[in-house]
Each structure stands twice: as C-alpha cells, then as structure tokens.
Amino acid sequence: MINNLNVLLPEIFLTISIFSALMIGVFIKNSFNLIFNLSSIIILVTIAIIFNNYNSSEKIFLDSFSRDAYSNFFKILILISSLFVLNSSKAFIIDSKLGKFEYPIIILLSILGMFFMVSSNDIILFYLGLELQSLSLYILASIDRDNLRSSESGIKYFVLSALSSGLLLYGCSLLYGFTGSTNFDLIANELNKENIGAVFAMVFILVGLAFKVSAVPFHMWTPDVYEGAPTSITSYFAVVPKVAGLAILIKFMHIPFSNILLEWQTIIIFISLASMILGAVAAIGQTNIKRLLAYSSIGHIGYALAGVATGVISGYESAIVYIAIYVIMNIGAFSCLYLLKKDGEYKEKISDLSGISRKHPIIAISFLVILFSLAGIPPLGGFFAKFYVFTAVLEQKMYALAIIGLLTTVISAFYYLKIIKTIYFDDSVITFDAPKNKFAQLSILISCITLLTFFLYPSALNNIAESLFIY
C-alpha cells in the first residue's frame, strides 16, 4: 500500500501543500508575497518529485490512475510553464491590485486538477480532474472582481464551460452505458466490435475537450475571456490548460478510442481545419494584442490538432512537440506584455506598440523573434513545430489538410507581420517605463534563446516525445 502511494506522491504532496498554504494565508496578514514564493517552491519541489521517479510506469486504484512517462512529461510541462507564467506576472498582479494570497493557491489547485486529468485512466477520475481544473479557472477568470470586464469574462466562461462539461459528462455516461466500463483500457477492448452508441459518446466527449482547448467551433469564449481577464490570468489560460487539454485529448484518442479511429478522425480533421482557418482570418482585424493572441492560439491549436488527426503515434508526437513550442512562444509573448507599462498602466493595444523599436530595442527584437516564430518562419522554433506536424500529416497522405494548413500559415503570417510593422516601421508614440520586472525579462530571454537556437538541435523535443509512447 505504501509502495502504491508512492505513485501518487506528487499529487499527495501538492494537495497537502495547497491546504497548508491556504492555512498560512488565512492566519497571516498580507501574506501574498509569502504564499506566492511558497507556491513557487511547491512547484519546484513537485518537479523534483516527478523527476525522481520519471520513468516508472504504474497503475493504481483499479487501474484508474496511471503514472507513466506520458503523464509525467505533461505534468512537468504544466509545472514549468505555470512557474514561468506565475513569476513573470508577479509585478503585474501587484500593480493591478490582485495580490490576494488565494491567487497562487487557486492556480495550484487547477494544476492539481490537471494532474489528475493527464494521469487519469478512467473516465470518472478524468471528469473529476477536469472539473477541479475548470472550477479553479472560473474563479481565476473573474478574479479582478471589481472590474466589469473581468467579471463578465468569468461569467461567460463559466456558463459556456459548464455547458460543455455537461455535454462531456453526458458523453461519459453514454460511454459507460454502451461499453459497461469506465476504464480506458477496458473501453478500448469493448470498442473492438461495432458500437454505434459509443460513437455518440465519443462525439460528446470530443465536444467537451474541444471546448477546453478552444478549438473551432467551440472557441467563442476564447477572445472575450482572453481580453476581459487580467493579463496574468490570460497568459495562464493561453498556456497551461491547453497543454492539459491536449494531453488528455491525445490520450483519449490513443487509448479508449483507438479502435474507432475513422469515426473521430473525420471530426478532428474538421475541427483542425476550422480552427486553422478561423484563427488565421479572424485575427486580421484585431486591435487588442490579447484578443489577437486569443485568435492566434485558436489557430495554433488547429495545427496541433492536425497532428492528432493523423491517428498515429508519430502524429501525436508532432502535436506534443507543437504544444511544447507553443508554450515557449506564448510565455515569451505574454511576458513581453508585462513590460509595456506606462505610468502604472499596462498597455494592450497593438497601436501602443507603435515604433517601440526606437526606444526599446530589446523588447522590439524579442517581439520580432516570438512573432516570426509564431508565424512559423524558419529558422525559428515555430517553423520546426509546423514542420513536424505537416510531416506527420503528409505521411498519412492527408494532402488537403496539409495544403490548407500551409496556406493558412501564409494568411496568419499577415497579422503577425502587421504587429512587426507597427513595432518597426511606424513612428514612435509611447515611451514605456523602464522595465523592472526581472523575471519577465528572464522568461523572454529564455523563450527567445530557445526559439533562436532550436535549429541547432531540432530533434531534442522529438526525442522526448518519442519516449512517451513506449508503454
């Protein structure tokens, strides 16, 4: 038994630390700084615990919880990206008077939910993890409760997400009804035979998951929530839940639904194409950077889903590589937003960036690298992400998906170029305050250097992704 619990050690540690931190927060006044630093330490220790037992592969609790390289990789990705998102946004949180000690604790809770999500091998545990994550995210979206837009985005997110969770739960119950099991492996076995009911269940579950990763046509909440929520929350939304959502989506396709490949493949291809096209076209008219990044993230999820749509391991790997590079790019992009501060106010209009290359060459060049990488121009990291995905897609002879996908990269290049044009070609308008946020600068630096030097050893991430599917 003790040995078994070892498998669950990261989750146990995380739970205990969250509640301890909550207690400390309640009893000590003005404890935001303390709790904030404590959460960073908790995250670091959790990373260490996971690394300590990285390659072990075990299932416990009647095979409902599995710990393996796959879930460990995603947990570490979630933790590292949360660490960067949290710390680079600290100055922003304090400036926007969001510095309540609950903030980091709710983030940790959502991480806990994602842990159970990516580790789940059972639809009940999966749903519990998903809900823990979603509930935390509802609160986070409206954390700036005196701000009308933030509250609005919280409500919007809550209503739509609750609906999608309902659909998902309905799908789960259908799946149980038609296969007689909640366990992923048993469901997979059961779906060997023809099972029309399970296809319905799959569609409902897919809808729920597509909502969580904000893929078209379930993307409607994304731009509003991204724009309405405080930037620190938006950056969290843009990065971490996407990783978890994609992880569980791939797991669903890989294990329980592996035998109804043809049925879900068509749906994913449609979702992927729709996301790529909408992400490219709808972003063109945007004037708010956060809103633009929302559409850009929809597009990027489309590319990642194109990898999933292949239905083979190499495709899943390419999607994982894609999402990892996406995380690096988005952390960099949002960290740049934390530096756009003028008289204590954070700017988020594209026009505010006008001509910053003259006064702030370093921010400008960081934007340049990140935006060209988002556009997928070689030799930056974003190119290799797209390269892997389209290599996998073409391997499966899905020519239409590949060609349309590649053409949308040209369309999306247009709006990234528009921002670069504003930064580099236009006249200088605003001089921002000298950047003080050291951690944001550090994450920009790390992000840019990773993207710039990715071409030196482009198979690094791929090698990791390859090792995830050996179980």
Binding site: I377, P379, F387, F390, L394, V410, F414, L417, K421, F425
Partner: protein
C-alpha cells in the same frame, strides 16, 4: 578535409553580427561598420579560397559536411560544386560593397542595418551551400525576415505595402515547396539531394512536385505574372537592399531550378518546357516594354531585371550546354550589372533624393566620372559585346536556337528592346539638357562610391572579354547535369 570550412563560411557573418549586436556605444557607429566590413571581407577571402581549392575537373560535390540533424533521417548536409561556388562568391563579393554603400545612404539605425545585412548574407550562403532540401528551405525562407525589415524599416514612403507584398508573395510560393519537400521525404525516405538524384522520383509524381517547386521559384525569379512584387520592393528598398535583392536573392530561384527542378524532376522539366518558354518570352518582351515607360529609374531597372531573368529561365530550360552555361553566366553578370546600376541610382539619390528620371538630365557635364561609370553599366545592361551582359544573352540565345527557332527569334527581339530602354534612360539622365539647377552644384562620386563601383565595372569588362574562369568552373557540373537529364529522358523514368 576535416575543418568545417563551409559552416565557417556560412556562420561567420552571423557571428560577427552578434558581436555588433552586443557592442556598446550607440553614438560611435563606425566600429559596427568596420566589424561588418572586416567580417564580410574575411568571408569573401574564405569563399575565394574555396573556389581556388575546388577540384574543377570533377562534377562531384566537394567540401562535404554532414551532421545528423532532425530525427537522424534529415541531415544537415553542405557541399559545393562548380555551379554553387559561383553564387557563393557572388554573394560574398556583393555584401562588402553593400556595406560600403550603407555609409552614405543609410542615415538612421545603421547598426541594425548592418546586422540585418550580415544575417541575410548567412542565409544566402546557406541556400547556395545546402545539399539537403530541408536545409535549403530553412535558409531560403529565413532570408525573408531580414529582407522584410530592410525594406520596411529603411525603405521609401510606400515601404510597408512593398515589404508585405514581398513577404507574402514569397511565403505563399514557398509553403507549397515545403509541402513538396515533405512529400519527397515520404516518397524517397530522404531529403539528401545527392541521394534523391540517384533514387529518381517516379514519373507520376514528378509533374505535381515540379509545379510545387516552380510556384516558389517563379515568385522568386520572378517570372511573369507573379513578378509584380519586384518593382515595388526594389523601388522602396534602400540602395543596399535593392542591390542584394537584384544581385543575389533573385539568383536563388535560378539556382533552385538548376539544383532541384532539373535533376530531380527531369521528365516534368521536359513536360513543362513550353510553359517556361512562354512565360520567359512574355517576361522578356512584356517587361521590356513596361520598362520603356517607367519614369522612375529604380523601377526601370527592376523591370529590366525581370526581363534579364527571363533569359535565365529560357536558357536553363533549353537543356543545352550553351543555354545552361549562358544562364549561369547571365545570372552572375546580371548580379554584377544590376547591383552596379542600383548603386548608381543610389549615388544620385543620396544627393537629390529623387529617383525620377525627369529630375536629372545632362549629368555628364557636372559629374563626368559618375557618368562614365553609369554608361559602362548601362551598356553592359543592354548587352554590348565586350561586357559580360553580351556573353550571357548570346549563349542563352545560341542554346535557344537549337531548341526552338520561333522562341529564339522573339527572345532576340528582346535584346533590341533592352537596348532601347537602357539607351533612352542614359539619354535622359546622363545626356540632354540640364533643367534642374540643383544638378549644377552636385559633387562627383567620392572615394567610397568609386571604391564600390569600380570593382564592379572592372569585373563586368573582364568577364566580357575573358569569361573562361566562370565557364571553366561550371563546365563539368553542367556536363554532368545535362548527361543525367538526357539519360533520364531516354529511359522515360523507367528505372
């Protein structure tokens, strides 16, 4: 050869650009100029060393370098042969000249400008050195970033439109090539072009793949009707940008045809020859006529570039030795001549800030040295015997006559048109009456301008009289190219 000389060659400018980026002292811009000039000259000398130590009696790729790169299947493979070395040397030769031209013409943010030029040089050299499709694509596309910034940041009034047009046109063509490259990878299991040459791509796929590559190269060449980005880009780009664009970036496409389209898809190349011939002829005649009507000197030279590149594509697809050697020669000579012409426009633009032909007139009375140089390049541009421009066109037309009389006749007519617009340009700018009083107080070319124009002039005349060094260099590689092509055509893809 264990020392990775090509890697050094490619990344030397990049490394020096990092030095410039990190160097302090915004006010003292001279150090940046010296560093970049020094490193680009070092690159030039290194490339000359590669040229002279290349074994020209062999058509094999030399100075091979191979490193496992993506997933152990795709290798970072570099190498040069007789064809690519010429483009490498052209690149390394033009870059220092561009850097010298910056001193006069770039007024703001010269440090960033030099960084962009050096990074661009790295990417251009990478294109010509790569022996792997993915590596080639990487460098080919990466060049868009610095060029986009060069046009957009330092360009003229309509720079934003031109930069966007340049970037999106090229990107649109290139993504199809990327799809084709990945497709070839799954078809043959490799992207190493020396292996693909031997594997031979099945007949049924050749046409579609050829078209995908063509979509990229046609935009880059540029061929009619996708040439419209070029005049815009040229007009708005700063002088050094126009020079690099005309002298080197356009040559990537011609090089691409020679390196990829012809050897990898010989059957498709034969199949599409009429298409290429038609487009080339339209480019030669139509854009020459358009060039006649231009009021703007840079636009005129830009259109003449399209016409000259028409000869290049025409020559390549004759599949004759004269034709292909002529195209290569034409590309090198056009690289020198168009670079020089853009520099000449830049010289007077720096003084009067106008590119309009009507602003000028009678320059010969006030700027004799400048007029002398300008006339040399204008005559070379129209293909006067004794300049390199003549030999390129002559060889291409010789090749074309062996294939198709009608096409060759029409193309020859283009030479006349070329003479017309170039002579008319010279007449209006250099000779004629001086209506503009500002011209009378203009200074003649200074030392720096002489330094950048005279070497170009000497080379244009030297190669006009003695093309042997260039022809000898490409001789065996072209023979090999044509042999392989003919074998492939005879076997009709049955292997």
């Amino acid at each position: 050869m264990n020392f990775p000389i090509l890697t050094t060659l490619i990344f030397l400018p990049l490394i020096s650009s990092i030095f410039i980026f990190l160097s302090k002292g915004q006010k003292n811009d001279n150090s940046a100029i010296y560093i970049s000039l020094f490193s680009s000259l070092a690159t030039f000398i290194l490339s000359l060393f590669v040229w002279f130590s290349l074994d020209l009696s062999s058509s094999d790729f030399q100075f091979l370098e191979e490193k496992s790169w993506i997933n152990d299947f795709i290798k970072f493979k570099l190498g040069v042969d007789g064809i690519s070395i010429l483009f490498i040397v052209l690149t390394t030769f033009i870059t220092p000249i561009c850097i010298i031209s910056c001193v006069n013409s770039v007024k703001t943010r010269i440090k960033e400008f030099l960084i962009a030029i050096l990074i661009l040089e790295t990417f251009m050299l990478g294109v010509f050195c790569s022996l792997d499709l993915v590596v080639f694509y990487l460098f080919f596309e990466a060049g868009l970033i610095p060029m986009f910034l060069i046009i957009g940041v330092w360009g003229g009034p309509k720079r934003v439109y031109s930069a966007f047009k340049f970037f999106l046109f090229t990107l649109l063509g290139s993504v199809l090539m990327l799809a084709a490259i990945i497709f070839i990878y799954w078809l043959t299991g490799t992207t190493d072009i020396t292996q693909i040459y031997e594997i031979k791509i099945p007949k049924e796929y050749q046409n579609i793949l050829w078209l995908a590559f063509f979509s990229s190269f046609a935009v880059k060449t540029p061929m009619w009707p996708v040439h419209t980005w070029l005049p815009d880009a040229h007009v708005e780009a700063p002088t050094a940008g126009s020079v690099i664009l005309a002298a080197i970036l356009l040559k990537m496409a011609g090089y691409g045809f020679l390196r990829f389209s012809l050897p990898m898809f010989p059957l498709a190349s034969e199949y599409f020859t009429p298409l290429i011939f038609t487009l080339s002829i339209i480019a030669i005649i139509y854009t020459s006529l358009v060039a006649l009507m231009q009021e703007d000197m840079k636009k005129l030279i830009a259109y003449s570039s399209v016409a000259h590149m028409g000869y290049v594509t025409l020559g390549i697809f004759t599949f004759t030795k004269q034709g292909i050697e002529g195209s290569i020669f034409q590309m090198i000579s056009h690289g020198l001549i168009s670079a020089a012409l853009f520099l000449c426009v830049g010289v007077v633009y720096d003084r009067l800030h106008s590119r309009m032909i009507s602003t000028y007139g009678g320059l010969v009375n006030y700027l004799p040295k400048y007029s002398f140089l300008f006339i040399i390049f204008a005559l070379a541009g129209l293909g006067l015997p004794g300049t390199s421009g003549f030999l390129g066109e002559f060889l291409v037309l010789t090749g074309a006559f062996q294939k198709n009389y009608l096409i060759a006749m029409i193309a020859t007519f283009g030479v006349v048109l070329g003479a017309a617009y170039m002579l008319w340009l010279s007449k209006r700018v250099i000779f004629g009456n001086t209506n503009n009083s500002e011209i009378k107080i203009l200074k003649d070319v200074n030392k720096l301008e002489t330094l950048m124009l005279v070497p170009l002039g000497l080379l244009v005349i030297y190669f006009g009289f003695y093309p042997v060094p260039l022809i000898d260099t490409v001789n065996f590689s072209v023979d090999n190219l044509i042999n392989n092509y003919e074998i492939a055509i005879k076997s009709k893809g049955l292997n």
